[in-house]
């Protein structure tokens, strides 16, 4: 089989932009996009808020410089400044490019692209399409890829890289609809598989499939991951599902109330109250729960987000989406009842370690989007910068891979390697006496992470978390797939995703333990301040003898000196 020039794993914003740009760079290339779901279903569609770019349509004095500074400060100075410069200076171009190809942006009165304020940004530079920005960007990119004739392998699940020394030969994947294991020999592979925040399971705002597959595949192939301990939490996730109740609810005047009936934010942010910065509000909710002032339910402890005093009219006119969500997913109408909420894992800053072109240490292997870590978000990403990240670095990786693809001719992937994979998957279905159920392992994974490696971290708890993870991995070796059919075996997929999450969870916990400081999203109660002298550096993780081996990388500095991060 003739090798593909580029195989892109993932059909979210990052993967589709990479595909488009690669075709634009060299239309003669043989490019394939593999995705475990139809590309238009990717999690990029969930982003409501928007994407940042200093177009200066709204605030005429906005500049790329200001965007750079906001991003670096927001990252708690852990972002690489050269990468941030690329991100922010490419931003206006990429937003216009999306506009030129048909993205339905909301408009200003002068008919230019509309912009609005967003957390942590000094100017209103968040470009949006109503409250469906990610969805419309993803639709547009998918439409354009169809127009350009990109070849899609929809509902294919990437299993592993085939590695030949320091190079990849391509990818091994499963056709979900037939269950067949297939080799995808490729000169270059781009991972664009999205984030890993779903490992916190029902304490996560993420889609069920945001299980860090690309990161886990890279990690197993010996490619280092970076800054995995940084996971962003959002203060108000719905109790049962973790789904997001957006900041709009508090913006309109919603109260956060504990089981004693107190508006507890008065303890933590007496002036700003419910409108304090995201990480502070998250920590406040968590404290209330930990100190026993939360409500109890079979689905876990929670607090109330109370909108009732706003009145039915305001709720119906200004917050219709939020109301609908509460009714759909929690069975609660916020006009009559308070909304049960708790903090929810939302975004993964860490990922596959790449340079500013998306290249990893393995020749021919690239990563982009939430699954990569360039790093532009450092210890904390700003709202609206993630969509931007996937677009800018998706495009850069697509171009780089297209330029490189001509240069190599990878060795073929042997049939025995494919057979081995087949047998490995079969073994999950063979009964072997004692067995474990996927559901309970996954539940426990989410629980221990939330409890021990969640918002508040401290050495003893993280150690407990690591012990739990080791035990879970042992139990995973007995996990059983009960569905033995080849066709559309979602039971098998869930188990494979769980394996990926377990591998990555170990790196998250290991990083959380070793980083003895508090920076951005990472809060150590036993080390409550930022420690630049010892910890102004990236962590990296390489798989060695089944465990993560830690390493460090300096942060690339530039114009901006370290400062305390206050708002």
């Amino acid at each position: 089989m003739k090798p593909f020039d580029i195989v892109i794993v993932g059909g979210g914003g990052a993967g589709l932009y990479a595909a488009m740009e690669a075709m634009k760079t060299n239309p003669g290339l043989n490019i394939a996009v593999l995705s475990k779901i139809y590309p238009n279903r990717s999690h990029t569609s969930a982003a409501q808020g928007g994407a940042n770019a200093s177009l200066a349509n709204k605030a005429k004095d906005d500049t790329v410089e200001m965007h750079i500074f906001d991003t670096i400060k927001g990252s708690d100075y852990l972002a690489d400044q050269d990468a941030v410069e690329v991100l922010c200076s490419e931003a206006p171009k990429i937003i216009r490019e999306l506009e030129n190809m048909g993205t339905p942006w909301s408009r200003m009165e002068d008919n230019t692209i509309a912009q609005r304020p967003f957390g942590g940004a000094g100017r209103p530079r968040c470009c949006y399409c109503a409250d469906k920005t990610g969805h419309t960007i993803l639709q547009t990119l998918y439409e354009q890829c169809l127009r350009k004739g990109v070849i899609f392998f929809n509902e294919y699940f990437a299993l592993d890289l085939s590695v030949d020394g320091s190079r990849s030969r391509g990818l091994i994947a499963m056709n979900i609809k037939t269950g067949r294991i297939e080799a995808f020999p490729a000169k270059t592979v781009i991972f664009a598989t999205g984030g890993y925040a779903k490992m916190y399971w029902n304490r996560s705002s993420n889609a069920a499939g945001n299980t860090g597959d690309g990161q886990a595949i890279a990690y197993r192939a010996g490619i280092p991951l970076k800054d995995m301990e940084f996971v962003q939490f959002h203060p108000t996730g719905l109790r049962k599902s973790g789904l997001l109740v957006t900041e709009g609810a508090r913006g309109e005047g919603g109260y956060l109330v504990n089981a004693l009936g107190e508006r507890f934010m008065s303890r933590y942010a007496p002036e700003k109250m419910e409108l304090g910065p995201r990480d502070l509000v998250s920590r406040s909710l968590e404290t209330e729960i930990l100190e026993g002032r939360g409500f109890d339910s079979p689905a876990g402890k929670y607090l109330h987000l109370d909108l009732r005093h706003l009145g039915a009219d305001l709720i119906k006119s200004r917050l219709p989406q939020i109301r609908e969500m509460c009714m759909y997913f929690e069975g609660v109408d916020p006009i009559d009842e308070p909304i049960p909420v708790r903090p929810t894992a939302h975004y993964s800053m860490g990922g596959i370690d790449t340079d500013n072109f998306g290249r990893t240490v393995m020749e021919g292997v690239y990563a982009a989007g939430e699954c990569g870590c360039v790093s532009v978000h450092g210890a904390n990403r700003l709202g609206g910068n993630s969509l931007l990240d996937i677009l800018v670095f998706g495009r850069i990786a697509g171009r780089a891979a297209a330029e490189e693809a001509g240069k190599f001719n990878p060795a073929p992937i042997s049939e025995s390697e494919v057979l081995e994979k087949e047998q490995e998957l079969r073994s999950f279905m063979q009964p072997s006496g004692h067995y474990e159920r996927y559901g309970s392992l996954r539940e426990e994974l989410g629980q221990t992470l939330g409890l021990n490696v969640g918002i508040y971290r401290e050495a003893s708890k993280i150690r407990k978390g690591i012990e739990d993870l080791v035990a879970l991995k042992e139990r995973f070796s007995h996990v059983r797939v009960f569905d033995s059919s080849d066709v559309y075996n979602t039971n098998l997929l869930q188990v494979l995703e769980l394996r990926n999450m377990l591998d990555l969870a170990e790196t998250v916990a290991a990083g959380a333990l070793v980083r003895e400081e508090s920076r951005g999203s990472h809060t150590r109660t036993d080390f409550p301040t930022r420690d630049d002298a010892n910890w102004h550096k990236h962590t990296t993780y390489t798989l060695e003898e089944g465990r993560p081996k830690l390493g460090y990388k300096p942060v690339v500095m530039g114009r901006y000196e370290l400062q305390e991060r206050t708002y």
Partner: protein, 345 residues
């Protein structure tokens, strides 16, 4: 404060899910399995199915991803209506159940079945391709990224609702014409086509329109409103379908397309008889031979599926006809204008 006061009070009850099963590797035909589980109020159908998969039967197969009503993966037929499992509350559904405490769950219709509740989506993607469901920009790619097109908020509002579509295929599953003819363009594809056609940045409006007026295209729609009623995003799909038709008549005239002749015949019926004689309509627009060849087989199929009443097909003046009237009044305007433009024809 004691625990019992903090405890949120929850209703709970036993619910049976009657689920469509089919594994092509072992089953010769589909069947139903009943799963009875105890649920608390506030649970969605998707969460209930997840529970069944995890605790009762791991082989139960369905699609789900975002669990938040935005990705479109989990569309299925619940109590005989296509909708998203993740945004459907079990308690609401129980009120609609025909048999008490039983919720029927089936795969979408009009798309090939793969397994249990999973259907093939490729036919929909293929139609998006054949009807050019993308903006083909007036700006050449080399110039992209340099400056914005200026687009008014008024134009944005024209396609704002249409861009809500998450391609869940609920409307596809409910479409009356697709039941008889799977080659029919599909409501979601008409919606997307309309969205592209009204975008001033697009350059292939005419080409797209030419495709839409061909066989299996926009003129095949029966105006049953079923798609719009089932749309999970409450998109006024019929506005899009009317929009395309109006456009077709305005731009392509009345004589050159069978669709437009169809419209004229409709108008005559409604105007002269106050009734719609469906059976004679195709004959008048396409001629007898064409009708025998193309439409009769389909009509038989539709009768078999009880979609149209058996002959004599005199449709009573119902609410639907009222709707037709209103629509065609609107169209009359266009046709009249068109005639005025081409007096010689």
């Amino acid at each position: 404060m004691s625990d019992s006061t903090i405890q949120h009070h929850e209703d709970s009850r036993d619910v049976t899910f009657r689920v469509h099963r089919f594994n092509p590797q072992v089953d010769s035909k589909p069947y139903f399995d009943d799963y009875t589980i105890r649920l608390e109020k506030g649970i969605t159908v998707l969460r209930a199915l997840n529970y069944i998969k995890e605790h009762v039967d791991a082989s139960l197969t369905f699609r789900a991803f975002c669990q938040a009503g935005i990705c479109g993966s989990c569309a299925m037929r619940i109590n005989n209506m296509s909708k998203l499992a993740c945004t459907t509350q079990v308690w609401d559904e129980l009120e609609k159940s025909r048999e008490p405490d039983i919720i029927k769950v089936e795969p979408l219709r009009n798309l090939p079945l793969i397994k249990d509740l999973v259907v093939e989506m490729d036919p929909l993607v293929d139609k998006m391709k054949s009807y050019s469901n993308w903006v083909d920009s007036k700006m050449s790619e080399e110039n992209w990224g340099k400056k914005e097109f200026l687009v008014s908020e008024a134009e944005f509002l024209k396609y704002d609702k249409a861009t809500d579509c998450i391609l869940c295929a609920s409307c596809v599953s409910e479409c009356t014409i697709l039941r008889a003819n799977r080659e029919y363009v599909s409501p979601a594809v008409l919606l997307k086509s309309y969205r592209m056609n009204v975008d001033s940045r697009d350059s292939i409006h005419e080409q797209r329109l030419a495709g839409l007026v061909k066989d299996h295209g926009v003129w095949d729609c029966t105006h049953c409103y079923r798609c719009q009623e089932s749309c999970v995003k409450h998109i006024p799909i019929m506005d899009a379908i009317h929009g395309i038709r109006e456009d077709a008549i305005a731009e392509r005239g009345t004589k050159d397309t069978s669709g437009a002749r169809h419209a004229e015949a409709f108008m005559e019926d409604i105007e002269k008889k106050g009734k719609l004689v469906e059976a004679t309509l195709p004959i008048r627009t396409n001629g007898v031979v064409w009708t025998m060849k193309n439409l009769l087989p389909m009509a038989f199929k539709m009768v078999l599926k009880r979609r149209t009443p058996p002959p004599p097909p005199l449709v009573k003046s119902t609410k639907d006809i009222e709707k037709f009237r209103a629509e065609f009044k609107e169209m009359t305007g266009h046709v009249a204008k068109d005639h005025a433009k081409k007096p010689g024809e």
